[in-house]
């Protein structure tokens, strides 16, 4: 990877990043600016339909994603996606429509337009680890995250569905660890990296989410992590926003700040707190960062 090569992407933030995950959006934009990676938001993108759409209406889900892929073609560069759920849906759609002619015809009919489907859909992790490269990432570090023990949480969707060309090994991915180790952090080996947090049941069945999320927090704590890093607003919602509630239900205390990957990498490249939205986090990360001399 030559350093002259300028990277630029079309950006699909997804609904959550414009709402509950505002800090993910903010930190992504700031981090990419700092790393001199171009990011242009896809104009007038739609909701990808996320889980609820494919849950009950696959054709709608495929059509919504395909529409977004089409919109993204107007912007230069591969499509950068922040949310694991959007990422999973968009790449699944692209793969399915390339492979399955019947579905492609149906979707083209729904959109009333022929589809190209040749752009690349990339998660932010992919861009950091591969397009930018770990070496260049490491070179940008101002404050190495030395001594910070991070539990990387992939959740279920980041590397799935399984038959679609993937970010990393479905069952034993390492890409998050690679990225965060490149900026100086330590990672812990733990058991619940890929377990599902209950994701979109947060609204309809919070009880389920609390049970699943508790197991994840417990495992991260047991492995000696200082904090958790995620690449998905849904995971974040469940692990961060519900953490206090969970502590209440199980009468325990975790106090594990849950960072978006862009926030932690942002800290390492020297961005200040306001540019990373750290104060928007429910579990306050500042004491931890201060204790490690990172703020």
């Amino acid at each position: 990877m030559t350093s002259e090569k300028t990277l630029t992407y079309a950006y699909y933030p997804g609904c959550s990043l414009h709402a509950s995950a505002g800090e993910y959006d903010l930190s992504t934009r700031e981090l990419f600016k700092a790393l001199e990676i171009g990011l242009t938001e896809v104009p007038d993108w739609f909701c990808c339909g996320a889980t609820p759409a494919h849950n009950v209406d696959e054709l709608l889900s495929l059509s919504l994603c395909a529409k977004n892929l089409e919109l993204a073609e107007a912007v230069e560069g591969d499509l950068a996606v922040a949310c694991a759920s959007c990422f999973s849906r968009l790449k699944f759609t692209q793969h399915t429509l390339v492979e399955n002619a019947t579905k492609r015809t149906q979707v083209e009919k729904a959109l009333d337009a022929p589809l190209k489907l040749d752009g690349k859909v990339k998660h932010l992790l992919d861009i950091l680890a591969r397009d930018l490269g770990l070496e260049r990432l490491a070179a940008a570090v101002k404050k190495p995250l030395t001594g910070l023990k991070v539990a990387c949480y992939y959740g279920c969707l980041l590397t799935r569905p399984t038959d679609v060309p993937n970010l990393d090994c479905v069952e034993a991915p390492t890409i998050m660890e690679q990225v965060i180790e490149a900026v100086g952090a330590e990672t812990v080996a733990w058991t619940h990296r890929l377990e599902c947090c209950g994701a979109n049941f947060t609204l309809s069945r919070p009880g389920v989410v609390i049970q699943l999320t508790n197991a994840i927090l417990e495992a991260a704590k047991a492995a000696g992590a200082d904090c958790i890093m995620v690449g998905c607003p849904l995971c974040h919602g469940n692990l961060d926003i519900r953490q206090k509630e969970i502590e209440g239900v199980y009468s325990t205390s975790y106090n594990l700040p849950v960072f978006y990957l862009t926030q932690l990498v942002g800290v390492a490249v020297g961005l200040e707190s306001a540019k990373l939205g750290l104060e928007a986090m429910i579990v306050n990360p500042l004491p931890l960062l201060k204790s490690k001399g990172l703020l």
Partner: protein
């Protein structure tokens, strides 16, 4: 339903329904050999009355009514653990999608209404606004599901952190979204899609 004896015959096995499931999910139901690996790893299995492998088994027997009558399919989180680990390439997560779709089409045979309601609202949101409005989603959900006080504690906190916004700018090209929805509706009416 669950305990009732199954009388199995060509008449009671609804193969057409199974074919629909297979078409929608792009996966073979018959291929499953009941190894149980899907159920072993499913994070939601403990909440389901029919664990995932049994959902496929019931499909193999054409007994879809038993599935739709229960809430198993609505407790699936779409995490894809089952599909990822199935030794036999049964895409169970997609089968779950297909079943929910068909259940939805069949209008409410299921006990589980909360998840359905949330899904419905989610899609309505897209149709009317183009994007998700978490605030609206949560509020309407709570009103409609009669749980006015649910997550009450979270609300103000999130609001304070800027995590819940009251207003959003609508997408500019709403007409296009509406067209997609209505074209799909038309295709279904004309029998061009399931």
């Amino acid at each position: 339903m669950k305990k009732k004896k199954m009388v199995i015959s060509q008449e009671t096995m609804d193969v057409d329904f199974v074919r629909k499931v297979e078409m929608l999910s792009d996966t073979s139901v018959r291929r499953c050999f009941q190894c149980g690996k899907c159920s072993a790893g499913c994070p939601m299995a403990t909440f389901m009355e029919h664990p995932p492998n049994r959902v496929v088994r019931l499909l193999q027997l054409g007994q879809w009514q038993r599935i739709l009558a229960g809430r198993s399919i609505w407790y699936c989180a779409s995490c894809e653990t089952c599909s990822t680990r199935c030794p036999n390439k049964v895409h169970l997560a997609s089968i779950m999608d297909a079943l929910r779709k068909l259940s939805w089409d069949a209008e409410g045979a299921s006990k589980e209404s909360y998840v359905q309601l949330a899904n419905k609202l989610f899609l309505q949101n897209i149709r009317s606004y183009g994007r998700q409005y978490e605030m609206r989603l949560a509020a309407v959900f709570n009103v409609k599901s009669g749980q006015f006080l649910k997550d009450l504690m979270l609300g103000p906190k999130l609001f304070a952190k800027g995590k819940l916004k009251m207003f959003h700018s609508k997408n500019k090209n709403m007409a296009e979204i509406e067209k997609i929805f209505s074209r799909i509706d038309d295709m279904r009416k004309n029998g061009e899609a399931l």
